[in-house]
Amino acid sequence: MSAIEPTPAATSVPGIEGARIGVITFPGTLDDRDAARAVRLAGAEAVSLWHADASLQDVDAVVLPGGFSYGDYLRAGAISRFAPAMAAVVDAANGGMPVLGICNGFQVLTEAHLLPGSMVKNDHLHFVCREQSLIVENARTAWTNEFRRGQQIKIPLKNQDGQFVADERTLDELEGEGRVVFRYDGWNPNGSRRDIAGITNDRGNVVGLMPHPEHAVERGFGPASAEGPRAGVDGLTFFTSVLSSLVHA
């Protein structure tokens, strides 16, 4: 490897000027600054939202970032889902606003019943941090429309309670309705049912996944890619996808 060029902000998406994407911070949230950076690199404005504030400040989309909100005490996401901001997120999501839940954010979305299923401790009982390959199963959601179905992408994964579980009927429904958005490729890092890494709601505006797209948005700081060590930027497509979905909404 030699010098890695910094990634310029993607400004090629037409009509996104002024798009505002909110990033909620709960006590114990860790990846909020990273998510805001990803939003900026995609060309939108990142708006910090505080869990105790019921207003979403007229944002166009919301990201629930990763972390250990309330220390994962009781159960991951179980306390955060009662935050005033979450009531606003549930209403907005039901009205069609794009919502992305990453890791702990995904756990909050399931606790808030915006997405089905739940996450339990990894089957091997250890925290796991790795560069994870995923297969995109649904490229029609608000957050994945710039991927191709079947595309292999690589973004970081890091979790303690990442094993996605649901009853068989729910899993069949998710599969039947094309609501499995990502599947783990190769090794299933946490024992998730049917290798599911991410899912969406029936409308396709709410997406939750365990791996972390916001950690793969800048050359030099992401996972390894054919371009070089830490050169992977597959995560940026989540954020450019939502901008184009806002344009076409």
């Binding site: 972390g67 220390g71 970081p156 948005v217």
Partner: protein, 779 residues
């Protein structure tokens, strides 16, 4: 959840207990006190009496005993640690904004940015209760960094355990690794590297050192002191409980207070969620400029924080213990003063800013209580239940404790150990290609040279989005400025086996390797932190090792021009009979070096990702195998002298590497150390799955060594560099101009490491050997 400052903490209201007050102490001078059980020597106890002009109260005795402990007072190492300061030249101070003596040193890295970093030990608690011991070790060093006004941005952990096959090792390994991960991951701090060593000398004395790096602007530096008459002393964060009291529970046997609780755990229990909230809360307090200074509560809890703040300030301080928010209302005064409950901070706040301060702690739902005030008495006074239980000069508690010049002497066994070299012992050396191949694979799979992924995959290295390099690269690299790419590299090192053979050289070698590791990433080394892990200072053998190591390190720092900015000393790491060769751990001076890069995106990885690059070897190889991984793994032998240190050569090498990175000539660089050249080639090839083909004739011819020595010697000052063939000539000239010997080894490519005329190891076989070891042992 927030208790306003004015609200008294809830607690049962017992009849006013009979306290050991200042008045009582003066009236009953002959009362027998358990100073011995608290770790104080008779003369130390007498000195306290002389200072006070009376016997101490129970609470004062608690404070003095814990503040005068080795851990808090550095009483055995202080006279020698001063050498770090004496050896710092004005030139070395150029980048130093805050030096030794504060919570952590602060280094100027340019453009108005500064970084603060420090490594600390949490060894003994981690043996008793590995998970909590390691977790709170991380928590403690992170709070030190916050106290300086910095945002913590990365951690590293330096771990040493007993033999892998000892029945107790897995207990400690599992607990420590999940403790470091469980706490650090929950704080959102990337873990960018560290050390992992297994050796029988650490059986029963595991070493858990943790390093934290923080970032701040020059103008945001805060020093903790209690100045300003009338300023409020505020305790915030977790409530004070009965954990981590250690020796104070002995005081409970003194029936000076009714309803004393049963013995409590002496190891602290951590709550990383609380700490994460505290980080954000403190940063907001600093940024709103509503706080004069913040001191973290670590060892010795409130005793330490109040006496240090008051001692560093210009007046005195009064504290009312009734205002301390308690988890357990039955705690007595000594216990409240000594409790090491985690996630607590003490702030000094101007009265007119108190409301703004409380608004911020309330926003973060952090419990806060005003417990005292800065005054002009020159004394630290503490009341409990309306009675005066402490009245001391804070300096006598915090900074004027006993200082010992302990006897030390070169151990009787040292000469015999050094005489028992690998040659004198007649250790059989592999010679044929097949023997060399088998030896390389054996070392690659040995626990200390095997892949550490089983550990590092349990740590988050991505959070915050600024990690440019992390394990298994030679150093961790973190971006500081997102617009310019300015950032820092950090590496730590200590080879206890070298330290055992010669502690003076061992310490210099630790510095040399950490310095080289920072330089291989292309960073310019700037400053040093150290954690000196040694045996009992009361044994002349261990004391000699400590003194030798400090002098060796101080001299080496001066020669390399990098100052020690802070650190920690951990003594009493030994359980054997005094005077025996195995009475304590290998002397383990963990040395951390920090370097700066103008653009972290150009940092050099330790592996090559491209075929067809030229491989150059920088540095000279000598027949240096005493104390080596080969001697240890293959022959279980430790004897002789460690490799020579040539600091001038290290300096030249580092400057060549920095220039190679800046000019964009080098593609990758990997330091050669334990396991020698062949281990380095295998690691760099495995990094991205691109092999290498090398010939040894250049080395064997120039350096007059045989293929075994060329492959396995641990001579210092060596690095392999991968370079585009187009730039090979230029890079060679650059190295030669810097005075660094350089020769061509071969090229990258293929799916094996090929040593021409000797052997080849397919990468699949190497990967299996390298990666299977730790999962097989620890699952």
């Amino acid at each position: 959840m927030t208790a306003p400052a004015s609200q008294a903490p809830s607690r049962p209201t017992p009849a006013v207990p009979r306290l050991d007050t200042v008045e009582t102490a003066a009236a009953n001078p002959d009362e027998v006190q358990p100073y011995g059980e608290l770790g104080l020597k008779e003369d130390e106890y007498q000195r306290i009496k002389d200072i006070l002009g009376r016997r101490p109260t129970a609470a004062e005795l608690a404070m003095y005993s814990v503040m005068w402990s080795e851990h808090c007072s550095y009483k055995s190492s202080k006279v020698h640690l001063s050498k770090f300061g004496e050896k710092v030249t004005d030139e070395m101070k150029e980048h130093l904004l805050v030096g030794i003596g504060e919570n952590a040193g602060v280094v100027d890295i340019g453009d108005g940015w500064a970084v603060t970093f420090k490594v600390e030990s949490h060894n003994h608690p981690s043996f008793v209760e590995p998970y909590q011991g390691a977790a709170t070790g991380v928590g403690g060093i992170v709070r030190d960094i916050i106290s300086m006004g910095a945002r913590p941005v990365a951690v590293m952990d330096q771990l040493r355990f007993g033999a892998v096959d000892h029945p107790d090792t897995a207990r400690v390994v599992h607990g420590v690794v999940s403790g470091v991960g469980g706490y650090g991951n929950s704080l959102g701090l990337p873990n960018i590297g560290g050390e992992l060593v297994f050796d029988g000398s650490y059986q029963g004395n595991p070493l858990v050192n943790a390093l934290c790096l923080g970032v701040l602007r020059h103008e945001d530096i805060h020093l903790a002191n209690a100045s300003g008459l009338g300023n409020k002393v505020v305790l915030f964060g977790a409530r004070t409980g009965g954990d981590g009291i250690g020796g104070a529970s002995i005081l409970a046997s003194e029936t000076f207070e009714d309803g004393v609780p049963a013995k409590r755990p002496s190891v602290q229990v951590g709550d990383p969620f609380m700490e994460k909230v505290l980080i954000e809360c403190c940063l907001e307090l600093f940024s709103a400029k509503v706080v004069e200074g913040i001191q973290d509560l670590g060892a010795a809890g409130i005793s330490c924080a109040t006496s240090e703040l008051a001692s560093n300030g210009d007046g005195g301080m009064h504290v009312d213990l009734d205002d301390v928010l308690l988890r357990d209302p039955s705690l007595n005064a000594g216990e409240i003063l000594m409790s090491e409950s985690q996630e607590r901070m003490m702030a000094v706040v101007r009265p007119d800013q108190l409301d703004a301060f409380l608004a911020i702690t309330s926003k973060w739902e952090v419990e806060t209580a005003v417990i005292g005030e800065v005054n002009d008495s020159g004394r630290l006074t503490i009341d409990h239940h309306g009675q005066r239980i402490v009245d001391v000069d804070p300096r006598t508690v915090a900074h004027e404790g006993p200082v010992y010049n302990r006897p030390y002497a070169r151990p009787e066994w040292q000469d015999a150990l050094q005489a028992d070299s690998t040659t004198a012992a007649g250790l059989a050396r592999p010679a044929s290609g097949e023997e060399l191949r088998e030896t390389a694979l054996t070392l690659l799979a040995s626990p200390n040279l095997a892949s550490k992924a089983w550990v590092t995959n349990q740590y988050d290295r991505f959070v915050q989005g600024n990690t440019a390099l992390a394990q298994p690269d030679d150093s961790g690299v973190i971006r500081v400025d997102e617009t310019t790419g300015l950032g820092v590299a950090l590496a730590t090192d200590a080879n206890g086996r070298y330290g055992k053979l010669d502690p003076r050289t061992g310490a210099a070698l630790a510095l040399a390797e950490a310095y080289r590791n920072v330089a291989t990433s292309g960073a310019k080394p700037l400053a040093v932190t150290d954690c000196l892990n040694f045996g009992s200072p009361e044994h002349p053998d261990s004391m000699w090792q400590l003194v030798e190591a400090i002098e060796g390190l101080a001299d080496a720092c001066q020669e390399l021009g990098v100052p020690v900015t802070g650190g920690n000393v951990s003594l009493y790491n030994g359980t054997g009979e005094p005077g025996q060769i195995d009475s304590s751990i290998h002397p383990t001076p963990v040395v951390g070096v920090l370097g700066v890069l103008d653009d972290v995106s150009t940092a050099l990885s330790s592996g090559w990702q491209t075929e067809g690059l030229s491989l150059l070897l920088l540095g000279t190889t000598r027949d240096e195998l005493d104390g080596s991984a080969w001697a240890d793994v293959v022959h279980s032998h430790l004897g002789g002298l460690p490799p020579r240190v040539d600091l001038a050569a290290e300096k030249a090498l580092a400057s060549a590497l920095v220039e190679a990175r800046q000019t964009g000539l080098a593609a990758a660089a990997h330091d050669l150390s334990e396991g020698g050249l062949v281990q380095g080639l295998l690691e760099a090839s495995l990094r991205f799955g691109i092999g290498a083909s090398v010939a040894l004739e250049g080395v064997t011819g120039r350096d007059k060594v045989d293929p075994f020595v060329a492959l396995f010697a641990e001579s210092t000052g060596r690095v392999i560099v991968a370079v585009d063939p187009e730039h090979e000539g230029e890079l060679t000239h650059l190295a030669e101009d810097a005075g660094v010997p350089v020769l061509r080894l071969g090229t990258t490519g293929g799916d094996a490491v090929v040593v021409e005329g000797q052997f080849e190891i397919p990468l699949s076989e190497a990967r299996e050997a390298h990666e299977a070891t730790l999962p097989r042992i620890f699952g």
